[in-house]
């Protein structure tokens, strides 16, 4: 039973100022599923639509973002939720932070800089559950934080007194306080140093392994996906171009964009020349016709310019959208 089913999701941003109206198609016909107990990676560069996708999945669609079609359905065991139709009250009481929580880039957006960490915990638990007994609450939080390997006196510090890595781990502690079924991590380690990043990601993996929940991990850094994700979906210009288990993506991908991304990753110990990809990322207000990648594709065919390639299943777990692939397995 998939935890999350997204089908044919389409969304765009509509802005109108001084008579100039713009429509940016950020998410164009996306379908995928999240299973319980997995880490699902979404890779893509700027303006590929991954931030929009997260907003919609987490129920955060406000104008100028509008959803034009498709379905977003969750199965949380006891109840199912249609994210596109859910009301604010139900969202706050049942779903937000209890079934779905987030770890964002920049922990300072979650941690109030003028309050001690424990107060932020209080706020969250008060909003979603209520705090009947102070002592029980305090013990519970301390136990939770200790389990994650953080010293208990972190709770009594202000955010600016902690290092960046520690703040991000506190953000993870906040996100896991109700043991949600889905954690959405949006570039959680992008601004962190490489050693700190390793520590934070290792913590995230431990949590996932123990509570057996699902983590939707979004980052542009493919090497992080290699070490963290079970399956990876590559997004380009608002569409998923390839989705497969991590090993397949890295060693036997089929889409030219994926292949280029993998091949151009620099590795210590390797000084062979790696060429860059020509062209520029697509302008989502005026995307290329047919396959969105065709202006930059080194293996472009005539059909790619006019017809958008359908998503083809290469085997049970691997699918890609490219005209170069003939029906299942060439």
């Amino acid at each position: 039973m998939p935890l999350l089913s997204v089908e044919n999701l389409r969304a765009c941003y509509k802005t109108e100022v001084y008579g100039i109206s713009r429509q940016v198609r950020a998410v164009d016909d996306i379908s995928f599923q999240l299973e319980p107990n997995e880490i699902y990676g979404v890779a893509g560069e700027s303006s590929c639509g991954k931030t929009t996708l997260i907003k919609i999945i987490s129920g955060n669609t406000k104008p100028p973002l509008c959803v034009e079609g498709g379905e977003v359905r969750y199965e949380f065991g006891e109840h199912s939720v249609d994210m596109l139709k859910i009301g604010e009250k139900e969202m706050r009481e049942l779903v937000r932070w209890k079934e779905i929580s987030y770890v964002m880039q920049g922990s300072m957006s979650v941690l109030n800089p003028v309050r001690k960490i424990i107060r932020t915990f209080e706020d969250i638990i008060q909003t979603h559950e209520g705090i009947p007994n102070r002592r029980v609450f305090s013990d519970r939080i301390t136990a939770h934080v200790n389990k994650l390997g953080l010293p208990a006196d972190v709770l009594w510090a202000y955010p600016h007194q902690l290092s960046g890595g520690m703040r991000q781990r506190v953000a993870i502690a906040l996100a896991t306080v109700f043991n949600p079924k889905l954690i959405i991590a949006d570039e959680p380690t992008t601004a962190l140093d490489v050693v700190v990043q390793r520590g934070v990601l290792q913590l995230l993996k431990e949590i996932q392994a123990e509570s057996r929940n699902t983590v939707l991990f979004v980052t542009h850094d493919l090497t992080v996906h290699a070490n963290v994700a079970d399956r990876v979906a590559i997004m380009y210009a608002g569409r998923i171009v390839e989705e497969a288990p991590t090993e397949t993506i890295f060693h036997s991908s089929r889409h030219p964009y994926t292949r280029h991304l993998i091949q151009s990753l620099p590795v210590i110990g390797d000084k062979t020349c790696k060429p860059g990809l020509g062209g520029t990322p697509p302008n989502l207000a005026n995307p290329p016709s047919g396959c969105r990648f065709h202006p930059r594709c080194p293996e472009v065919l005539e059909i790619c310019r006019t017809v958008a390639p359908p998503m083809t299943a290469l085997n049970e777990k691997h699918r890609a959208a490219c005209h170069l692939i003939k029906e299942s397995g060439k």
Partner: protein, 331 residues
């Protein structure tokens, strides 16, 4: 070696900052006794690698003459940077040393056309007399970085991609025909698919244009890919420096080893060793005040002597290491 044979000579440079009030502040040593030099005859890419708080940004500002050292001196083509006073001397220096900044979308004012900066540079450094004459100069520079004037003309920064802007930034830096470019994390904010084009561009500048580059980064993989030599920085010290193959293939300093191990590799099959639990520091300011090696608290091979005083610089295996492990006196 004679003075003028060195392009850039950094001699025991230290820079202090005072934070906090008059009575209870602390002194932060952002750069501590840093020394290295670049040859004038051999263009190279020299990487300054380190995490945040390592001092690499402070060092880049010292090299660009944005800051003056508290101790030591920086010499460019034999001239002490501290002796550069006045606008004319400043312009002469800027002709030879140019920067490339980290954030492509802040490098140019969002309200000005990007080409205006190219023309300004051409006119101010005497390569053109008027805007009309500056156009072929700009065209030539853009061509060097793989862009055409049509792609850039009349565009505002938000109409270009991050990769294109960084290339325009490099083109602008090339107009005065500099000998040295200081690139501060030039690709960390650029998309992965556009990153290699910029990185390859630096290689081309070194090989075909004879321009040396000081490449400041925290990304060891691209550092390995393009640099000749690397200096690994930690809390203001250079802990290991030498040819990049030696330092990164066979790291000696425990911190370099930790850094190299922590860089995630694009190999899913190796992920188990990367996920080993490691200790992280809680706060960062504490480290600055410590005596002795700044890595001793986290070092798996720390000895008692490491906490007593700064480790000496030792030459070992074709590079320089700041570590008691390799010092003959400790053994």
């Amino acid at each position: 070696m004679s003075e003028t044979a060195k392009l850039l000579d950094v001699r025991q440079v230290s820079r202090f900052f005072h934070i906090g009030g008059l009575l209870n502040g602390t002194r932060i040593i952002a750069a501590n006794g840093i020394s290295f030099f670049l040859d004038a005859d051999k263009p190279e890419i020299f990487t300054l690698a380190g995490e945040s708080g390592s001092g690499k940004t402070t060092l880049s500002r010292l090299l660009l003459h944005d800051l003056d050292p508290s101790l030591g001196s920086v010499h460019f083509e034999g001239q002490d940077l501290a002796s550069i006073k006045g606008r004319r001397a400043g312009m002469e220096f800027m002709k030879k040393v140019q920067p490339v900044f980290q954030n492509p979308f802040d490098t140019f004012s969002p309200l000005r056309r990007v080409e205006d900066y190219l023309y300004d540079t051409a006119i101010n450094f005497g390569r053109a007399r008027s805007r009309k004459d500056a156009v072929p100069v700009a065209e030539e520079a853009l061509h060097l970085v793989g862009l055409s004037i049509e792609e850039v003309t009349k565009r505002y920064p938000h109409e270009l991609s991050g990769g294109q802007i960084q290339r325009v930034s490099v083109a602008r830096a090339l107009i005065p025909k500099p000998k040295l470019i200081i690139a501060d994390e030039p690709v960390s904010m650029v998309d992965a698919s556009l990153r290699m084009a910029i990185v390859n561009l630096f290689k081309k500048l070194r090989d075909e244009q004879g321009v040396s580059v000081i490449y400041i980064t925290h990304d060891l993989a691209t550092a390995y890919y393009i640099s000749n030599r690397i200096a690994v920085m930690l809390r203001g010290y250079v802990v290991e420096a030498g040819p990049v193959e030696a330092v990164l293939d066979r790291p000696l300093h425990p911190y370099t080893k930790l850094l190299k191990e922590s860089v995630p590799k694009p190999a899913p099959e190796d992920r188990l060793s990367w996920a080993k639990r490691i200790g992280l520091s809680t706060t960062e300011v504490k480290d600055y005040g410590k005596v002795g090696c700044k890595f001793a608290a986290r070092c798996p091979q720390a000895m008692d002597v490491c906490l007593t005083a700064d480790p000496p610089d030792v030459a070992a295996d074709g590079r320089q290491v700041k570590c008691y492990l390799y010092s003959t006196k400790a053994n």
